[in-house]
Symmetry: C2
Subunit: 238 residues, 2 copies
């Protein structure tokens, strides 16, 4: 079984629910790649000619400014696809945080298959819509949450992602640095540290190592972090 086959068969991702034939065709055009940690997988501003699926490792999508500011737009977990756009060039870059393995799909090839395969088209639409929902979630976090709320919701999100990948352990990995978390949440690494310390001192989490959290009180963590949207019967705030 080729390197890409397994990742294309994964449930709940781009191709999981597709029929055999379509998956075989995708597999035929998929190009397996490996990259070392600390490299651009997608160069910001490069010609947008391919779509990728992360097979293994951790990566993130980020936008940079000329002053060296960075905003991480998404953390990528195995099975996630990225670099999908209709623009000529990528507005953002994708960075390998660890050693990673990818499937690369040439955009024009994929586009060809998509036009003759409604089921694939639909899968892509579902995935892009999901991504839209999750970025809107991030907008809310950045616009209207305090530092503590941001970190609490981030821990919930980390746990959720890892649970979905099927790791039911008591501990949740933190596979990125404090600086990465800060650049995702619109904070500094110091603020992330302080928020974690505070959550620990209040007994919501344990921090046995810098890259591991144990969530001790999920309901309270959720209530601090998630700030649930509520079905409003009538009348707006503004």
């Amino acid at each position: 079984m080729s390197a890409c086959a397994q990742c294309l068969a994964r449930q709940g991702t781009l191709c999981g629910a597709l029929d055999e034939e379509t998956r075989a065709r995708l597999l035929a055009m998929a190009h397996a790649e490996e990259h070392a940690a600390g490299r651009w997988l997608v160069q910001p501003g490069a010609a947008a000619d391919a779509v990728f699926i992360l097979r293994a490792g951790h990566a993130h999508v980020a936008r940079l400014t000329h002053e060296g500011k960075r905003q991480i737009l998404a953390f990528l977990f195995p099975g996630d696809f990225f670099a999908f756009t209709y623009e000529q060039r990528y507005a953002y870059g994708a960075w390998a945080a660890t050693d990673v393995a990818l499937c690369r799909l040439a955009r024009h090839q994929l586009e060809g298959l998509v036009t003759t395969t409604p089921a694939l088209e639909r899968r892509i639409r579902v995935q892009v819509t999901r991504q839209l929902d999750s970025v809107q979630e991030l907008v809310f976090t950045l616009g209207r949450k305090t530092a503590l709320e941001r970190v609490a919701s981030f821990l919930w999100y980390l746990d959720y992602r890892q649970r979905k990948l099927g790791r039911p352990g008591a501990m949740t990995d933190i596979p990125m640095s404090r600086a990465d978390i800060a650049d995702f949440l619109g904070l500094t690494s110091e603020s992330v540290s302080r928020a974690l310390t505070r959550l620990r001192s209040e007994g919501l989490i344990s921090l046995p190592a810098a890259d591991q959290v144990g969530i001790l009180d999920m309901p309270r963590l959720r209530s601090i972090g998630v700030v649930e949207a509520e079905p409003v019967p009538e009348q707006p705030p503004g």
Copy 2:
């Protein structure tokens, strides 16, 4: 010509580039609606059973918290479609800022047409991807820009949207309140006012009325606001 026909024929939107037959079918399932200012067009948390296209007026997509905080996720202009999701319920609401006119498309009907019409499927995918790009832009704004930068980029955005709708006048309308702008940019209305005052006092804009700006120095406004992503040759910041 029915109320919806014109909006379905509009170029650059959901249905602009479709063939006659598909457009006729869409038109057949489109239900024209009008709503007064200050009402929910889409109730947050309501069953997600329809998709809408804004025909006339202004509206916005917003998420609320139980503490009365609000984050506006997008301002809607004529031709925009919204409330498109694969979830059971809307995570966000859409609010009529002025009197509005809509086309309503029942989700199950649209879904049926979409599966047999690749061109429509593709149009939706392009639109959703564009929305994703613009929300990512907002993430960057909220995560890494100062108040002045946010307001400057917002004015550029307003001007861009209105230019695209074909209003080449020297003045740009501001069809929403300062509080709305604040809730979009993650600020307070006071901060929005101060930023506008400062941009005016530095000669970048004129403010003949509260709901109109004249952009006097677009290059400088862009350079303050847009903080362009730059194609990085190698090496990350983190």
